[in-house]
Symmetry: D2
Subunit: 179 residues, 4 copies
């Protein structure tokens, strides 16, 4: 859930209008957990974006972003994956519209495991295998590939905000991993 | 997707503001397919609301409505079920946030099987067993319980607008019925 | 995955024949995570069976058992729930045949998170709300209801064998809980 | 559900033993709906195998086969896809073990929409995108790629036995198609 400045220019909604809507309506998002898979479909690595937070700490996050007016959910997913992982990532957008979970980000902490101080966002979350070369874009410093076991280490989760660590664990559980 | 006039009074959003948002953002909805089940969890009947359309025709529809700001998806589901089926319906809201499908209603017909001339709505769709007495509320004329086979008859589907007939079939397929 | 002696008498398969099949074929199972829910469908408690292991330790387990020849999956689920929780448990068997996960129990430890020294069992796992009074049956000492947070405590998981602790966590993740 | 003669040689189970087990136990299967997808993950074609039936009619079927002792479900899926579509098909086996449905094939017609005169088979059904070149193997005459709309035509469904036509429609409904 980032890059909203970039989105806004495409969204037929001024910065002020989006801010206003965010105080009144749940905003539809998509979250993606990028994974590398072997030929049997087993996940061998999970991709986490590294960003510098406002106070200089390193944060890890999943791919995330808003669905625009008149945009299909699968197009939003593809757009945010390409935006964050670069044009050569070759993401395999899921064939089914059914997410592995629906994450409800509340502006008030503690209502759900997910939190977004800016807004009430409801996000359709998908696991997305990527087959190509990933190059972090924009304000991402790097994209780190971790094995599922590495990704589940407490230290990694502690570096993920807004509940992205919970979402990652839920994704790995959905894939059959011990969580 | 009805009763929006009623919703608006609860949504901290004026009629005009909601109309404006609808031209700018996808609006989050929930759809519910009310069902009667036997003790084995098999669906024995599907509940369809009967309404008079603006031009006097009878329309059949599923339970549907908007998710409000700061409202949990499960609370929106419960609220719309109680609003349409009455306070004694005893709906069994699903334990998991995962919908059986995500229906994308576009203002432009033909983009998806789902259409809503008023807005771009993205709806999380659930099958909801109801155990109590249902009494149609507000502008619904009646609630008709049909067997799955009856519900799949072409004549019934022809009476469902906005793609609700497709959603009903997708629900029955998800439940293991031949569609 | 217990009580197989009891099952065998109903299964048109002698003890020896079942043992033989177990060395040759994957055996189909169902696993159930019994839960208490509030009116919004939120899980407030998880039910775990307490049994004495062969060496006298207390083990916690989920409801689990074999699917018989010519038995529907939903009937096997209902049968094992009634067998373990008693005839007044009023389990709400899921309407859909889709499990929240498929647990592959291998006789060789480490192939998957699930292990069964007796056999290769493949289990369809479901979350099942129970609305009535539960009375543990047969060799179960008790049925303990724990909050989701209590159920996720490491001490509880350590008392669950064969990967049932992993299955429980996967179930809670599927329900939207932080795991 | 074909090619069992071939399977048997790999299954550590003689023809007679398999026949015996089939009269006593549900047999675990996997079914796969091969699809072609575009870069957005939308299904553009469904692959159906053409076979000559025993009485000379042309039958269309999905990829289907048994899970062997000590075989992972994902390995069974890959094995049957390669067996039926050839070694260059490059199937993208799903990352999650959760099937889109569980098809219960009964030896008695009419218990479920699925029927197998040889046995009680319970099948985990998956949609599998294939990216490479498909060459029908063994007794398949051809592999026909149909658009989703073509695949839903009544004439096509009439050529599918054992309930495969129902399974195909359930798959397309799961993918968001009108069924």
């Amino acid at each position: 859930m980032s890059h909203l400045e970039l989105d806004a220019t495409r969204a037929w909604l001024s910065r002020e209008e989006l801010d206003s809507a965010r105080e009144r309506l749940p905003i539809l998002y998509v979250d993606a957990v990028p994974v590398r898979v072997d030929e049997r479909g087993s996940v061998v690595a999970v991709g986490l974006l590294l960003r510098a937070s406002d106070d200089g700490d390193i944060q890890r996050e999943l791919v995330s972003g808003r669905v625009l007016y008149h945009e299909r959910v699968r197009d939003a997913l593809l757009r945010h994956l390409e935006k964050d992982l670069g044009p050569m990532a070759l993401p395999r957008v899921p064939t089914s519209p059914v997410p592995f979970t629906v994450a409800e980000y509340f502006p008030t902490p503690g209502v759900t495991p997910f939190h977004d101080p800016r807004q009430h966002a409801v996000s359709l979350a998908f696991v997305v295998p990527v087959a190509g070369d990933c190059a972090p874009q924009h304000d991402a410093l790097d994209l780190a590939w971790l094995t599922p076991d590495e990704a589940l280490a407490p230290g990694v989760l502690a570096e993920m905000e807004r509940g992205h660590g919970v979402l990652l664990r839920q994704a790995l559980g959905h894939l059959g991993h011990p969580v």
